[in-house]
């Protein structure tokens, strides 16, 4: 048994966890929802897993084909929809401060 590759992946996993904690340490309340939506889009990375499972199967059976099809559809919806809706939220968010500063001036 060769655990080298697996342990390297665990190391990457642990370090990524610390990065995730560090990046979000300071965030204004107004950005909570867009940030949730943005991280939601990022975990759409799972679509890659669906592609790999189907794509590396030499002779995918029909059940595997059906499951993978649904998985890829779901994953794509997660990624595309997630990034588009986050962009919309942020676009709305961006116009507000400029409007209020205009009011002050």
């Amino acid at each position: 048994m060769d655990y080298t590759g697996f342990l390297a992946n665990i190391a990457i996993l642990v370090l990524s966890g610390f990065i995730g904690f560090a990046v979000i340490s300071k965030v204004p309340n107004t950005l909570h929802t867009p940030l949730m939506s943005g991280t939601n889009a990022i975990h759409g990375i799972v679509v890659l897993g669906a592609l790999v499972v189907l794509g590396t199967a030499p002779n995918p059976s029909v059940p595997l084909q059906i499951i993978s099809f649904v998985a890829i559809v779901f994953g794509t919806v997660n990624v595309i929809g997630g990034f588009v809706v986050t962009d919309r939220m942020l676009a709305m968010f961006k116009t507000r401060p400029t409007a209020s500063t205009d009011g002050k001036n």
Partner: protein
């Protein structure tokens, strides 16, 4: 060629981290989101290069087209007030993907017994896959309930069976773990256990439903954030099982940052995560 794939994955997750740190400040948030989206495109291309010799191009392209057609219109057209439930739905399908990946792997490796052929650790990969199956299914069904509550398909107020709620959830949780252990043991001896694998997905799914139902509508954003973090963790587990560093890094970053974010959101509402998840308690903060 695999070196190219690995290198592109490294570029991709660097862009995720950069994008995410951009998302934490108002001025850089829009750009941060775009950087993360570009990183996703890089990871996507890398994966298509990785699986370039597949015989399933037709299914893959069809699924991608369907996903884009289904995903874009609601994201562009839905009213801003309906965005939280849309995020819940997007999170749910992500969790569903993870559960389906685990299921697909289960079928492809003949009940995980196929994993034994490859040199390397078997048990950790099986455990990671089973974790992905449980959390993915829980996140999918929990998010669907959160969506239906916010969309007012289901009543927004807490729905619970009272004192029996916590024991019921505990039984469902233990049940899914037991089913997972049975499948895991089967993977190291002989034979497949499709029924038990189905039991994992079903029990974890019911747990997702019974956990979110007793939570009031006002607490729902915190719950969605928690489910978001869980989906991230399950994505990282699936990444471990598939030896895919882009999934490990992106999933774990979301898992960790999502946990912190959930805590921040709960604090901003003067609530604790425990009291929210315990559900029904304190009227679920309805009308807060």
């Amino acid at each position: 060629m695999d070196i190219l794939v690995y290198a592109l994955y490294i570029v991709a997750f660097a862009m995720f981290i950069l994008g995410l740190s951009g998302l934490t400040a108002p001025r850089s948030a829009v750009r941060g989101n775009k950087i993360a989206a570009a990183g996703m495109a890089v990871a996507f291309v890398a994966t298509l290069i990785h699986i370039r010799e597949t015989s399933s191009w037709l299914i893959i392209i069809a699924a991608l087209v369907v996903g884009v057609i289904i995903g874009i219109p609601p994201a562009r057209k839905v009213k801003m007030t309906a965005v939280p439930q849309l995020v819940a739905l997007f999170n749910g399908v992500g969790g569903g993907t993870v559960a389906l990946i685990a299921w697909g792997e289960f079928i492809e490796s003949d009940g995980f017994t196929g994993l034994r052929v490859a040199s390397g650790p078997v048990l950790p990969l099986v455990v990671a896959s089973l974790f992905a199956a449980i959390i993915g299914s829980l996140s999918f069904w929990g998010s669907i309930v959160a969506f239906m509550k916010l969309q007012q398909i289901l009543p927004g107020h807490p729905l619970s069976v009272g004192r029996l709620q916590q024991p019921l959830n505990a039984i469902l949780f233990l049940g899914s773990i037991v089913a997972a252990v049975i499948v895991g043991i089967g993977s190291t001896t002989t034979g497949a256990a499709p029924v038990w694998f189905g039991a994992i997905l079903i029990l974890a799914g019911i747990l997702g439903v019974t956990t979110v139902l007793p939570i009031g509508g006002a607490d729902m954003p915190v719950v969605i954030s928690l489910l978001n973090a869980l989906t991230g963790l399950s994505a990282a587990a699936a990444g471990l099982a598939l030896n895919n560093i882009a999934m490990i890094v992106a999933g774990m970053i979301v898992g960790a940052s999502g946990t912190i974010l959930t805590n921040l959101m709960a604090k901003a509402m003067n609530r604790s995560i425990v009291s929210i998840v315990a559900g029904g308690f304190g009227g679920g903060g309805k009308g807060a």
